[in-house]
Symmetry: C2
Subunit: 456 residues, 2 copies
């Protein structure tokens, strides 16, 4: 029997797909430029027991497998190679429980981030991590990549909210890692180790997430237009220097605003070269004051136009435009997404270096950024089929990664390493730490079946 037949025998033929019209649709994530192959089978487990059976079959046969949420990843971590098994969690999409006293939710990995947020809001609770993919991406994928988002500047990333999990690990057994209590230090933080491991250490089958009380009373939005990336970067550094922690601090350049305008006709790109969007969610007068302080930072750094937005709908539209920037650029061509993160003080310098790389390699670059975190997403756009432009963009991409390391930054703030950044990850980590990664991987995945060849 081949692997698909063995899987069908274990979990039922209706959970196993081998038709290439189906399997090819599960072969890769949104990292267009990363390689992928054709999986031997796609399975859609219904529950943890199915997942365990799949892992056991793969371990017995030595067939690699890769977990998959919504496939919105941007580093190729969910890409299959020829002959692999893809484990798609779309049927394991239930919110199992919400505990309003403990402020936790326990969910299956296939739950969509936005659906969870909406559901817990009904309990007066809030799940902060909000990657731009939140309307589509799943908690399982968010956990595998340790996803970030707009709120991270104040509220942290996915790992900060994963208290415990159930997973199928390298022994083929189901384990519970972490805790459900507010604190807990029994043994190693293997739960935290799984978060961000990009599916290389096991398959997560259930997650207990910490929640916060739903924010009441709205946020104050501050809008600032600047005439250059560098000047906007200075304003970002000024906010950090002033000790302000906004609840969001995002950057969008005119290139992205124009792409959104020409798609959605929002009329956003007229005011200046670069837009900064900041928010304060501090309650009452403290929020008013924080918004004023941010406005003052924007003005002191020479904003062309800066104002506190008093129109909640307009403010929402601006943040919606920020989220639409990536799909808007994807309409123009093939988009290679950067994800470097640098110290906050280095934001102006890093933005200048991104511009310089675009000029040097004659590559159009749109800039969006979780600027308050120092997490920049230069978007390298290449017209479909233009191989020379693509080669130039790849060079520019590599240079930007180098520059981020030179400035004390990291090659990936929130998207992960996947296939796209393996070489630069090796450089950032160094031989010794890479050796530790290999040792941990071999210890926890002795059969080497969990998403091999990703990350390192």
């Amino acid at each position: 029997m081949d692997v698909a037949e063995r899987l069908a025998a274990r979990i039922g033929a209706q959970q196993v797909y081998t038709d290439t019209h189906v399997t090819s649709g599960y072969a890769r994530d949104h990292a267009e430029w990363a390689p992928s192959g054709l999986p031997a089978a796609v399975v859609r487990p219904r529950h943890t027991e199915d997942v365990r059976a799949v892992v056991q079959v793969c371990a017995e046969m030595g067939v690699p497998l890769v977990g998959r949420g919504a496939g919105t990843g941007l580093a190729g971590a969910a890409n299959a190679s020829d002959g692999w098994v893809v484990v798609s969690f779309e049927r394991m999409d239930r919110i199992l429980s919400v505990d309003p006293v403990q402020q936790t939710a326990t969910v299956q990995p296939g739950v969509v981030n936005g659906d969870l947020r909406e559901h817990v809001a009904g309990h007066g609770l809030w799940y902060p991590p909000d990657p731009s993919s939140a309307p589509w991406s799943t908690i399982g994928g968010n956990v595998a990549t340790n996803a970030g988002g707009l709120c991270c500047v104040k509220y942290g990333v996915t790992r900060d909210y994963v208290l415990g999990m159930e997973a199928v690990v390298g022994t083929g057994e189901v384990v519970r890692l972490g805790r459900t209590t507010a604190k807990g230090v029994t043994g190693y933080d293997l739960c935290g180790l799984m978060v961000g491991s990009e599916g290389t250490l096991g398959l997560v089958t259930e997650v207990t997430l910490g929640l916060r009380p739903l924010r009441r009373g709205g946020e104050h939005t501050v809008v600032g237009y600047f005439d250059s990336l560098a000047r906007a970067g200075e304003a970002v550094a000024a906010v950090a220097t002033a000790g302000i922690t906004p609840s969001a601090l995002e950057l969008i350049d005119r290139f992205c605003l124009q792409a959104v305008d020409s798609w959605k006709n929002m009329g956003l790109s007229a005011e200046g070269e670069v837009l900064l969007l900041a928010r304060s969610d501090r309650p009452g007068g403290a929020g008013e004051q924080e918004a004023e302080d941010i406005l003052e930072c924007f003005r002191a750094q020479g904003a062309v136009y800066a104002v506190r937005s008093t129109d909640a709908e307009e403010a929402e539209a601006l943040f919606a435009a920020r989220r639409l920037a990536y799909p808007a650029l994807a309409r123009l061509g093939s988009v290679l997404t950067e994800d470097v993160c640098v110290p906050k003080a280095a934001v102006p310098e890093m933005l200048a270096r991104v511009e310089e790389a675009g000029r040097r390699f004659d590559t159009p670059i749109g800039n969006i950024a979780h600027a308050g975190d120092g997490n920049l997403h230069p978007l390298f756009v290449v017209a479909p089929g233009d191989e020379e432009a693509r080669a130039r963009a790849e060079k520019a991409f590599a240079v930007v990664v180098e520059q981020a390391l030179e400035l004390g930054g990291t090659i990936t703030g929130e998207h992960g390493v996947g296939l796209l950044k393996k070489d630069s990850a090796a450089k950032e980590l160094g031989a010794e730490v890479l050796g530790m990664h290999r040792a941990v991987k071999a210890a926890l995945d002795p059969a080497g079946i969990f998403n091999p060849g990703k990350v390192f």
Copy 2:
């Protein structure tokens, strides 16, 4: 040459102590009831290179070593066995840098928590983790145990603030783990794995900590006296159910208050059986409102006396009494400190079971608790030399741990496993997860020299 001679040859005789009058003082931490032996040598490294040399000598000779901060641990994790090498970080106690823009501090492991807090306050910054041992315990020890404290209920634990570190690991090499940027997902979270690993995976030689802006404007304190532990527990659950996140929510019973009174003559124990101390640090009117909401919860649960403290000095004195409870009880006899953490809704039930265990085994128990986290510290007091009382207290201790697991809790919220809780840790983790621990330990400490036999 024996290990001490080899160490002296590598790092200088003046860094190596073998006189048993000295070494016996470094043999154990504050977990009185955990076993310890006499180390062959105590070394006091001056810098990372010294630490590397010590690890290499120990690896070559197969001699176990244990790192040591201030020795304030409560689980025996810092205890030496006969013939071991103790690595005391008291000379590596410098604050290397503070970055006010990035809001980080980079420090050596021997820095005292309270000294760091004071130093960064001078930069307008705040390091939240505040174990009761903060005036004495070191950052290295805090990192090794993933220490908690009073502020955790709102601001999280040590792991939440450790961004990056330098460590000497199992290969005998110096590595950098984690990051210095706000976000970063390159590879496995080996930095997080080191936090709370109780010295079993390497020796931390430098830590980069995230900081927050210093809180301005003071906190509102709410004081509530209750006539029983169970009733105070209901008030704690009521605060959680109301969706309130106080900046502290502590419990002290009359047994502890009387011990503090008779030591410091503070006159605290007259009002009721159990004292709850809550704080709100929300700014302006929001803080006033939160304090009122907490007061309302206290009154609704039948507080004997509940009031918003308007006297900042009095409020400080109450929190000081909370911190003094453990040393005050230690004056009365040998103290065995519990550290279970249960879901918030289970706090009343768990407190009732603690009382029941005290009655059943005729053991005096004082209760302090980070009640808002569900993290309880029943203190079992035994008169010096009373072996029968000690045997009874050990039984009560074991029963309390069992009960915490039964209620969905963990055996240790913040003190760690060390030697004291190895058996119950095995029970909490289960055979499969314990196997993962062993695999990780073998992968990262192949010579088995880092604090072997602790945790699992």
